[in-house]
């Protein structure tokens, strides 16, 4: 799968957050995340429903169900490796 990535601007300490525009519809992507071992939670109570997924190892993915932009947070101590692994997985989809 092709994707675009940009480091998210924010004002937090040691933040390693990136935004990705992906080419998959939300439900398909959530299924793929679950298949990849992620714990996925959906929040239908908000005006625009959201999801949060946590991969083993601490990578955190979140976004709106109805949008193809996701936000991914990597652990500051392992950000480079986690980012490379996640993007490799995205590319393989």
């Amino acid at each position: 799968m092709e994707f675009a990535v940009k480091k998210a601007e924010n004002c937090f300490a040691a933040a390693e957050n990136y935004e990705y525009r992906i080419a998959l519809a939300d439900q398909d992507f959530l299924k793929l995340l679950e298949d990849n071992g992620a714990d996925v939670r959906v929040n239908e109570q908000l005006r625009r429903p959201t999801f949060v997924a946590e991969l083993p190892g601490g990578v955190r993915i979140k976004g709106l169900l109805a949008r193809n932009v996701i936000k991914v947070g990597y652990l500051p101590t392992a950000a480079a490796t986690q980012k490379a692994d996640f993007e490799s997985w995205l590319s393989s989809l």
């Binding site: 300490a13 933040a15 959906v42 929040n43 908000l46 949060v52 979140k62 976004g63």
Partner: protein, 422 residues
């Protein structure tokens, strides 16, 4: 396009008065100011802005105002322009923005000693602590913010400056947050230097701001270049404001700032204080009701005893029954007294990180707030918050409606009740 509710005015105010964009656009469409080499018949927008600001800040001589890009520009000019030397001591506070902290850190690398005073738990500088530190350290310079950009607590700038002078220190006031919302009276308060920016509560465009330098104080400029006058000199001309204004200025931006200043003179902010304060109190009470930790400058606001009785104090009472809340209000004679806090508060929802709260407000509700450390990383240790996660900051403006507050409160209720899903 989504209709955003914008509550990040402590970073950059929005919307602006309509005349601001029109003035900047008109300036861009017209001849540049230097086209006629500043003849007597030409309109000098920088001089007009200086006149407006001198009136606002209570200055006799507008030429003591150097105009530039923003407060960061001004603070760097002031801090590095004083000629401080290794061994000198500077007193500052943990409430400061990185535009103060980073220049001071650079001075520390050069061998200066810098002490950062704790604030109280509301983000306010306690005058007694300040006096004690001044007496102990005998600093050459004291740098302090007029208001915390995290909690909105406004400091007693006059008392802090007096205490500094009593101990022989010069003062730099960072009025980035307060200019345009609270009274800023630089000569009356005997401030030596003050930084301000046009794009916050002065309601002007980004890229406008300036530095006040009192009569008799000459800074060494560290930005050198063309001035349009004395071009044969190897150094910057000695007269203010040219001494500190190298290079072509942001003329379209200053046309916008002039329009904002004229609009604000016709539409005084004093008429908005109580209405906006009511919204802030409603929001604070709601946050407390849904179990949030709230940090704001209304608690411990003693700068305005007359108005305190005219303002609801319920929220603060819930937060801490021993503390009183002050606010803008109408005194017995009908005069409006200024608030001792900005229309700003920070909060953390129980069980939800500030980042997730802010993302949910923006992505699911089109409400724009600011999350993180707010470029003031040291204050969090004084507020009892985790510096690694920061806070959500809401900053209102005179254009914030009660309906905006209602929508924010409804969204916060939705988010707070679904903490498990974050």
């Amino acid at each position: 396009m989504e209709q955003y509710i914008y509550l990040n005015n402590a970073a950059t105010s929005w919307p602006k008065p309509p005349a601001v964009a029109a003035a900047s656009a008109q300036a861009l469409a017209g001849l540049p100011g230097a086209a006629m080499r500043g003849g007597i018949e030409d309109f000098d927008v920088m001089a007009a802005v200086r006149l407006e600001l001198a009136e606002l800040f209570g200055l006799k001589n507008p030429a003591r105002l150097a105009l530039g890009a923003n407060s960061t520009w001004a603070l760097n000019l002031a801090i590095f322009g004083l000629g401080l030397k290794p061994g000198d001591t500077v007193l500052s506070t943990k409430a400061e923005h990185n535009s103060v902290l980073r220049p001071l850190f650079a001075l520390e690398q050069q061998g200066l000693r810098v002490c950062y005073l704790d604030t109280d738990c509301n983000g306010r500088i306690a005058v007694a602590d300040w006096q004690q530190a001044l007496q102990k350290l005998e600093p050459r310079l004291a740098v302090f913010t007029h208001a915390s950009n995290v909690t909105g607590a406004v400091n007693d700038a006059a008392e802090l400056a007096k205490a500094a002078h009593d101990c022989g220190a010069m003062t730099i006031l960072d009025a980035s947050q307060t200019a345009g919302w609270c009274p800023v009276k630089l000569e009356e308060w005997a401030i030596d230097m003050a930084a301000f920016t046009g794009h916050k509560y002065l309601l002007g465009p980004q890229g406008t701001g300036g530095l006040y330098v009192r009569e008799g104080l000459e800074l060494t400029p560290h930005l050198l270049g063309g001035t349009g006058i004395h071009s044969d000199m190897h150094t910057m001309p000695p007269e203010m404001p040219t001494h500190l204004e190298a290079g072509t200025g942001n003329e379209p931006g200053f046309y916008g700032l002039l329009a904002a200043l004229e609009w604000a003179r016709e539409n005084p902010v004093t008429a908005e204080w109580q209405r906006v304060d009511t919204g802030l109190e409603r929001l604070k009470n709601h946050l407390l009701d849904i179990g949030a930790t709230v940090l704001d400058g209304t608690v411990g606001d003693t700068g305005n005893a007359v108005s305190a009785a005219a303002t609801k104090a319920d929220g603060a009472t819930k937060a801490d029954g021993a503390r009183a809340a002050g606010g803008a209000g109408t005194g017995a004679a009908g005069t409006v007294s200024p608030p001792g806090h900005m229309p700003v508060l920070s909060f953390v929802l129980r069980g939800i990180s500030p980042q997730d709260s802010g993302d949910a407000l923006r992505d699911s509700y089109d409400i724009i707030v600011r999350t993180g450390l707010h470029c003031a990383p040291h204050i969090f240790s004084c507020l009892g918050l985790d510096p690694s996660s920061g806070s959500v900051r809401v900053s209102l403006s005179r254009f914030t409606s009660q309906a905006d507050i209602d929508q924010l409160m409804a969204a916060l209720s939705d988010i707070a009740t679904t903490a498990d899903a974050f």
